[in-house]
Structures are given as C-alpha cells and as structure tokens.
C-alpha cells in the first residue's frame, strides 16, 4: 500500500471506502466473467458457433487482463481482495453471465439459441460499460491513476459490446478480430504480469 498514493486521493475529496468497494466489485465482475465466458465459449459450436467462439475468447482473456490491471491499484489504495472466493463472486459488480436455457434444451426468449447466447454476451458488456463509466465519473479529476485504468478498461469493454452487437446485425461493423486473444491494446500497460 502506498501511503502518499492513498493520501493524495483522499485529499482530492474521494471517499476511499467507496472507491475500494467499487474496485472490488469491478474486479469481481471481471473474474466471474472470465469464468462464465469459459462456459459460454465451449457452448459456441456448430457452423455459426465456431465463428462466435473466437470473439468470446478475445473478450474472455481481455476481461481476465482487466482483473490483473485492477488488483495492484486496489492494493495501492489500501484495499484487499476478499478472503473467500465465494464472497468475492457475490459482490461482483455485474450479474453472472449464465448459459441460456435454450442451450440446455429449454425455451428461447429470442427464437434462437445462438441469439440467446449473444444477448447474454452483449448485455454483460453493457453492464461492464455502465460499471466503468461510473468508476470514471467517480475518479475523474481527482484520482488520475484509477481514472486512467478505468478509462482503459472502458475502451476495451466498449469494443467488446460492439463485437457482439455486430454479430447480432446491429449497424455497420468497425470490428476486426484481435491479432491474438487477450491483446488488450488499451489495458496492457497496466498489467503487472507479462501477458505477451
């Protein structure tokens, strides 16, 4: 924990307890998303599913990178990850991205199981966008380091949403796949582990 790193943030008027709670929630959302996207990726099979599998993997590994980028900042500010992983999952800042019923033989709310899968994915990214928009607004002008990390993650989450919504046919596509899964062009500078 950095003493001065904490002090400057407090002096700027940020409630550290609230910020740490938001960071733990964000880290929890990334960690659980990495888990749930693993399940969603393995379910993306068949003629249409195989193409979707690539972008799920791109998003999955980048979300794991987001967790890696958040953790050092959390500890710099005097916060900690929860002792129990079950409790950690419980405070995740976004709902769990469960496998849709239609991929387990149940009803489809959209009329197609792959469309249901895409809906889970795009809504999860939209939740992440709201989470990091909130974090950016909370820290802007007061905590440059956390703001920079949150803004970098937000950039990638916005791209993730675009990938999945384009797969749903929403608008012209600005997307092209990453060079390799987990490239994290915005977040890479904040990761402590060498991800290359």
């Amino acid at each position: 924990m950095g003493k001065v790193a904490r002090e400057v943030v407090e002096k700027a008027g940020i409630n550290l307890e609230v910020l740490i709670k938001k960071l733990v929630a964000a880290a929890g959302a990334e960690f659980t998303t990495f888990y749930y996207y693993t399940i969603l990726r393995v379910a993306a099979i068949g003629m249409e599913g195989e193409g979707l599998k690539e972008i799920i993997e791109d998003a999955r590994i980048e979300d794991r990178n987001h967790f890696e980028a958040l953790v050092p900042r959390l500890y710099e500010l005097g916060g900690t990850l929860p002792r129990d992983i079950r409790g950690f999952a419980d405070v995740a800042g976004c709902p769990d991205a469960y496998l849709p019923d239609s991929l387990k033989g149940g009803k489809s709310p959209t009329g197609g199981s792959l469309k249901d899968l895409l809906t889970v994915l795009v809504e999860a990214e939209r939740c992440a966008i709201r989470c990091y928009t909130d974090l950016c607004q909370f820290t802007q002008g007061k905590d440059p380091r956390t703001y920079a990390i949150a803004a970098a993650i937000l950039n990638e989450e916005i791209e993730h949403e675009a990938w999945f919504s384009e797969f749903l046919g929403e608008g012209p596509s600005g997307h092209f796949r990453r060079g390799k899964p987990g490239a994290s062009p915005y977040v890479a500078p904040f990761m402590t582990a060498d991800h290359k």
């Binding site: 929630a25 995740a92 800042g93 976004c94 709902p95 469960y98 849709p100 149940g106 809504e123 939209r126």
Partner: protein
C-alpha cells in the same frame, strides 16, 4: 411530516420538489409520509417516483444513474424500468428459474402540476 407539508398534502398527494430542480437524467431523494422516495426525471421529460432501495441487495439507488428509462443500481448494475418497476436486466438474460426470483422495484404515484412534483402517499399498483 412537518406542518408545512401537512398543509401541502391534499387528496393523498404531497408536494415535494420544484420541477425545475429535477433535470433530465437526474435523481433526487425526498421524504414522503416519513418514507424516503427517489425521484427520477427520465430522458423523455416524465418523472418517476420509486423506492430508493434496490430490491436485489438493498443498495441505495440514489447513487445510481438513469439509463434508457431505467435506474441502474450502482452496486450490481441491475436495471429496473422506472415506468413499470420491473427488472429489465438481468431478467432478459437469466435462466427462467433465476429470472422468476427477481423482485420488482416499488413505485409511487407521481404527477407534475403547476411547476411542482407531487408524490402520492399510496404505492402504484404492480
């Protein structure tokens, strides 16, 4: 409730806030009949009145944001439609058994009249 508020209450309605003080996309917490109520000005200019307590885990929704006619809870980012109280997300993506457990957000009757926002003392029917 203060005597000033008693004087303002008529027909079950309580005057709570000047309409001009609630801008589009903003939230304000007021007290009605001893209970906290969260006012929200939606993007289309209409006003909604709801409980400030998230039905999911009890978080204070006044720290949230108005998002496409819904309130976004700052804790887990559940979305509740501010016109119907229904959970919009994650109801639209959860498996049916989990979606069935999602409770709605409590709404209050609300109107805007003569430049003031009025909240009804009774909860709106589901």
């Amino acid at each position: 409730m203060s005597s000033a508020n008693d004087a303002l209450a008529r027909g079950g309605w309580q005057r709570v806030l000047a309409g001009a003080d609630l801008k589009p996309g903003s939230l304000a917490k007021v007290v009605v009949g001893g209970r906290e109520v969260l006012l929200a000005r939606l993007e289309d200019g209409t006003v909604s009145a709801a409980s400030p307590v998230c039905p999911h885990r009890g978080e204070d929704l006044s720290g949230g944001m108005v998002y496409m006619g819904a309130i976004d809870c700052p804790l887990h980012h559940y979305l509740y439609d501010l016109r119907t109280g229904k959970n919009r997300y994650p109801r639209n993506v959860f498996p049916a058994d989990l979606a069935a457990r999602l409770r709605p957000l409590l709404l209050y009757r609300v109107k805007e009249e003569d430049g003031w926002i009025w909240v009804g003392s009774r909860e709106a029917p589901p």
